[in-house]
């Protein structure tokens, strides 16, 4: 992979993706072989928004490569609170680390930050924009469970604001996939994602209900519908309730269906699904470590 920064899934070619996933498979098979690979290297963490999985799995990934992290900590106790610009913050912090991971509430923040620094920057989520490392671990999980070609996938929930959806839908256009998008009309894919999918030659099949399409799916990717997207709580409850699944819902699915979720979930996947053979969302979260190890290894010069 020849990228200095990873800001969007749009920059990843099929070869890039397969390179990271292959390396992640090797790491997962024999993590100890990579234990000292980046000894002494430091990863800077800049999370301007809360994160559990992404931040912890990047920390685990860096430590399992023999490196360590330096963490900006919560925004409340940083100089951002004093009004420092993002451009200044990243220019300072690049002097402390060999690579940076950043999550920020503004869309385009990762692209802008990357223009001010020389060390590799990884976008760990920019508002409703992109979340490319989540996409890589999603693709890894799909490949392990269903394969990435000749795949029929349903992506359900908040497709408008869900950055994991935007990154994943684009990345899947590199493979032979049929994508179905299931959401309330008010939360359908945004204009820019539609534009990109059309440009990539993908047809957009949209549904407001899961029922009709469920039996044909190899993968069902569920995302959370957030209450703050609705002006009235009653409307949220009504809409969100229509996009919840439980073990009974899945009776109509293929036996081999893989159910995924970027987590955290609230009630969109009932707990009775956890014990079924469909549930892959915890495995998906665990895959974050080998996948992020593979990506960090590539960015820190592991290919050389």
């Amino acid at each position: 992979m020849r990228h200095d920064h990873i800001t969007s899934a749009k920059q990843l070619s099929r070869a890039d993706i397969e390179g990271v996933l292959d390396r992640a498979s090797e790491i997962a098979a024999d993590p100890s072989a990579y234990a000292d690979r980046h000894e002494g290297a430091l990863l800077g963490l800049l999370f301007f928004e809360p994160s559990t999985r992404t931040k912890m799995s990047f920390t685990a990934a860096m430590k399992r490569l023999g490196g360590d992290i330096v963490d900006m900590g919560p925004v409340d106790s940083s100089s951002v609170k004093k009004g420092e610009s993002l451009a200044d913050t990243v220019r300072v912090v690049e002097g402390y680390a060999d690579a940076l991971v950043m999550r920020h509430p503004s869309e385009g923040s990762a692209q802008m930050a990357s223009e001010f620094i020389d060390v590799p920057l990884i976008n760990a989520g920019d508002g409703a924009g992109q979340h490319p490392t989540q996409t890589l671990l999603d693709l890894y999980t799909i490949r392990e469970n269903a394969g990435l070609d000749d795949l029929t996938i349903g992506i359900m929930g908040d497709l408008k604001y869900g950055r994991t959806v935007h990154s994943l839908a684009y990345a899947l256009t590199n493979f032979e996939t049929r994508q179905h998008f299931i959401s309330p009309e008010s939360l359908q894919l945004p204009r820019n994602v539609r534009y990109d999918l059309h440009e990539q030659g993908s047809s957009i099949k949209e549904h407001t209900e899961l029922d009709g399409i469920l039996p044909s799916l190899d993968v069902l990717y569920v995302t959370r519908i957030q209450q703050e997207r609705f002006p009235e709580e009653s409307e949220y409850r009504k809409v969100a309730g229509e996009y919840q699944i439980d073990a009974d819902t899945l009776a109509a699915a293929k036996e081999s269906l893989t159910v995924m979720h970027p987590l955290p979930r609230v009630d969109e996947i009932a707990h009775d699904v956890d014990d079924t053979s469909y549930a892959s969302y915890f495995e998906q979260a665990h895959n974050g470590v080998p996948v992020r190890m593979a990506l960090l290894d590539a960015l820190l010069g592991g290919d050389q």
Binding site: P105, S106, E107, G108, M112, D126
Partner: protein
């Protein structure tokens, strides 16, 4: 020149921007940052009958020759505009606006969550699409009211 265009008198030296869609002349001036404070004489013809556009606007800026890069951004709201450079009452150069591949610093992003709308040391940058513009930073596409976004950028200057 036709009789209609003569409603605004000829200028000796400067730039005439012709074939602007009707009622867009003030937007054109705002985009070019021409607000009269520079002292230049500016004449405007609005909703002048035109064979090609039905109604068109014409802007004449005296003693200032606008460069191609200055006027290309006008292609976003006035794709049919023609630029005439005048010296000694004669048209010495005549060209059309060209749609640039990218525009920098002249539009503000319509996405209020875009990083370029915050207090950061970065100019807005847009890829020009066939039917709109796309923010290089947040990826959002603007198709409607591009003139409004242009004006906002000009005001924020």
């Amino acid at each position: 020149m036709t009789d209609q265009e003569l409603r605004v008198s000829k200028i000796e030296n400067g730039t005439v921007i012709d074939h602007i869609p009707g009622s867009q002349a003030l937007n054109v001036l705002a985009i070019l940052g021409i607000d009269g404070t520079g002292g230049e004489t500016v004449s405007i013809g609005m909703n002048v009958p035109s064979d090609r556009l039905g109604r068109k606007d014409v802007v004449k800026v005296e003693d200032r020759e606008l460069s191609q890069s200055e006027v290309d951004v006008l292609s976003l709201i006035a794709p049919a505009a023609t630029i005439n450079i005048i010296r000694g009452f004669e048209v010495v150069e005549k060209h059309r606006v060209e749609r640039p591949d990218e525009v920098t610093g002249v539009l503000s992003c319509s996405n209020k969550h875009c990083i370029t709308t915050e207090d950061e040391p970065v100019d807005s940058r847009f890829e020009v699409l066939d039917d709109g513009v796309r923010c290089v930073y947040c990826d959002s596409i603007t198709r409607e009211d591009i003139a409004g976004e242009l004006l906002m950028a000009a005001t924020n200057g």
